[in-house]
């Protein structure tokens, strides 16, 4: 009885604490934004929302997440075979702590059409008019996130790796399995939860980020977050409403994707 009573008090105090914490503020902010958009919706404000932009943002985020998780996973699997003392991840640590906006500048300076890479290639006689940055396919954005998130994924997977799984890997290798086979038949399934968690976090982050698509994106289509801020800054009230709605859409999309991925994970178990 006492235990039940105690746990009820604990539960209530947990809920109370959560509500007065920054989490409670977050809930408040969400309802504020949702009510300002959904209840104030007018036809003219919907004009400022482009389905094309939505699809573009989601696909770029998905592609970037997928590529970085796969490559990060491959790299961390590769690194697991090293002896610990040979492994020095020095530069990866530094990339991890850099602000995204600083890294975006670097990508711009290296990969733009008059950037470092193309000057370098030019000295070897490779002339090209291709622009990897500010292009309509979002290549610059994908490049930025892949290069920036791979260290993060590697460090996360290395830290959360279950050493017991190594035995399975060794057994498979003894039976003649190749590197890639070990990776997607053993390493990934055994660490699927980590892969799913990190994918959710990275996808949500990429979809909601502002600075990188602003710097590396093209005139059109724009990322949803960039056009949301443009709408918010505009003097036109319809655009303001549209900006709130876009933020809600971004959040709900990330939430739905996280649930979907978790369901896929549960079903594959």
């Amino acid at each position: 009885m006492e235990k039940q009573h105690n746990s009820k008090i604990a539960l209530l105090s947990l809920i109370f604490l959560a509500l007065i914490s920054p989490f409670g503020l977050f809930i408040y902010a969400f309802f504020n934004v949702a009510s300002e958009s959904i209840f104030a919706l007018t036809e003219s404000s919907l004009d400022h929302i482009s389905i094309y932009e939505l699809i573009f943002s989601i696909s770029i985020s998905a592609i970037a997440t997928f590529i970085s998780v796969i490559f990060g996973g491959l790299l961390s699997f590769y690194l697991l075979s090293f002896r610990k003392k040979d492994l020095n991840l020095g530069m990866l640590n530094i990339v991890l702590v850099l602000p995204h906006i600083g890294f975006a500048y670097i990508i711009f300076l290296v990969f733009s059409d008059t950037g470092f890479l193309f000057r370098f290639l030019h000295t070897f006689g490779v002339h090209s008019n291709v622009s990897l940055v500010n292009d309509t396919y979002g290549i610059g954005i994908i490049l930025n996130y892949v290069l920036k998130e791979i260290p993060f994924i590697v460090l996360y997977l290395l830290a959360t790796n279950n050493t017991k799984n190594q035995n399975f890997v060794l057994a498979a290798k003894d039976l003649g399995a190749g590197f890639l086979q070990c990776f997607y038949k053993i390493y990934m399934p055994l660490n699927l939860l980590q892969f799913v968690s990190i994918s959710i976090v990275i996808f949500a982050f990429i979809l909601g980020n502002y600075e990188v698509p602003f710097l590396l994106g093209s005139n059109s289509p724009q990322f949803l977050s960039v056009s949301a801020l443009n709408n918010f800054q505009s003097i036109n009230i319809d655009q303001n409403i549209a900006s709130y709605l876009k933020v809600v859409i971004i959040f709900v999309t990330s939430f739905i994707v996280s649930i979907l991925l978790r369901l896929i994970f549960r079903s594959s178990k």
């Binding site: 059409d113 008059t114 008019n129 622009s131 500010n134 292009d135 309509t136 093209s218 005139n219 059109s220 918010f232 800054q233 505009s234 003097i235």
Partner: protein, 388 residues
């Protein structure tokens, strides 16, 4: 542990401090290092020494950010704002006027306003709106093209010659995407050039949206005509003028543009532009306007802000501003109202070889567009040119 708590509490208190009484927070577009540097060094030190005012520069990515902030301030009844002085013109001033965000006609209370020709339409009107003293003129600008004379041996003099030059030299010309300020000016100026001075003046003086809608298709067809010959076939328009200048510096485009006639000389002196860079204006005219500073309704230090504006209108500040080592922005003072010594201060400033003479610039002057329709033109540019 104790020290940690004390430090945190003192930091918490310090975080709610208020600005000192002699501070003035001046918000300006922060994308130009030279302007920033001039404000941070010359202007700040003069104000400190002569008027004991601490100038705090607030960098903005876009003046509209500040306007939007003031609109929110007004909506939520915020009396003590965080901006005392704002650099703006055109559509931004219109937004302030429409939303009742200005303070009062402080211009006529300033000492140095007597050296300005307040009745001159280019000074009394900001993009077609009479400011009535709610903002003070600060400097003036005129659109020019900058070209590399080593590569452009026969610089175009008319719009037709420019069109031909673009077609004969594919990939060597581009303009920034509106709503970037310079890109926006370029398309407005192109419209003025296509219509010709008379028809354009007629449009502006007897303005109606219908008439504008009738004329705009001419602009879009010209822009579409040159698009395939632009840099990278017009796949991407640089989102800021600085990116275009960078391309010019790299040599990938042979022409750029700017709203300040002395930018070219300044960039040459800094080593960013090639020494052979020069400026030109087309015979059909170049858009010119005045830019202003204003004091918002909820500025926390209004009287000090007035002192700062008065200083900025003074002959020393205007001459220093004109110097292309600092900024190269033209003065708003009326030469005929200045004393001979003061007039000499302005005339003795060397504008540099690459800058066109005031005579040429004045002859090419074309008046600016009415502010309220500028965003409409920018939106239509997006739908006509970008969204395919």
């Amino acid at each position: 542990m104790k020290y940690l708590i004390i430090t945190i509490i003192s930091l918490l208190f310090s975080s709610i401090t208020f600005a000192q009484d002699n501070t003035v927070r001046f918000a300006l577009w922060g994308g130009n290092e030279d302007i920033n540097h001039w404000i941070d060094t010359y202007v700040s030190s003069e104000l400190k020494n002569k008027h004991d005012i601490l100038l705090e520069r607030v960098p903005l990515s876009d003046t509209q950010d500040a306007i939007q902030k003031l609109i929110r301030d007004k909506r939520f009844g915020r009396e003590n704002g965080s901006i005392d002085l704002l650099w703006l013109n055109g559509e931004n001033f219109k937004a302030m006027k429409d939303n009742d965000l200005t303070w009062k006609p402080f211009l006529y209370e300033l000492e140095n306003s007597k050296y300005i020709d307040l009745k001159n339409p280019t000074i009394a009107n900001d993009f077609g709106i009479e400011h009535l003293g709610y903002e003070a003129p600060w400097g003036s600008a005129q659109m020019v093209f900058i070209y590399d004379s080593a590569k452009v041996t026969n610089p175009p003099e008319t719009l037709d010659q420019l069109t031909n030059w673009i077609k004969e030299n594919p990939g060597k010309f581009i303009y920034p995407a509106p709503p970037d300020f310079t890109g926006s000016v370029f398309i407005r100026q192109s419209l003025a050039n296509i219509l010709g001075k008379e028809a354009y003046d007629n449009l502006i003086n007897n303005f109606s949206v219908n008439r504008l809608e009738q004329e705009l298709p001419k602009l879009w067809s010209w822009l579409k005509e040159i698009e395939p010959y632009l840099y990278q076939e017009g796949r991407f328009y640089p989102e800021s003028i600085s990116k275009l200048h960078q391309n010019f510096s790299d040599g990938t485009v042979w022409m750029t543009m700017d709203y300040y006639p002395s930018t070219a000389q300044r960039m040459i002196d800094k080593g960013i532009f090639p020494k052979t860079a020069k400026t030109l204006v087309l015979k059909e005219g170049a858009l010119a306007n005045t830019h202003y500073v204003t004091i918002p309704f909820n500025a926390s230090h209004k009287e000090n802000a007035k002192t700062v504006v008065d200083f900025l209108l003074g002959i020393d500040a205007q001459a220093s501003k004109l110097n292309s080592d600092n900024w190269g922005d033209f003065s708003v003072l009326d030469m005929s109202k200045l004393s001979p010594q003061d007039a000499e201060k302005l005339q003795s400033v060397d504008l540099g070889e690459a800058t066109l003479s005031l005579e040429i610039l004045n002859n090419a002057k074309v008046q600016e567009f009415p502010a309220e329709h500028i965003s409409m033109i920018e939106e239509e540019w997006k739908s006509n040119i970008i969204q395919r």
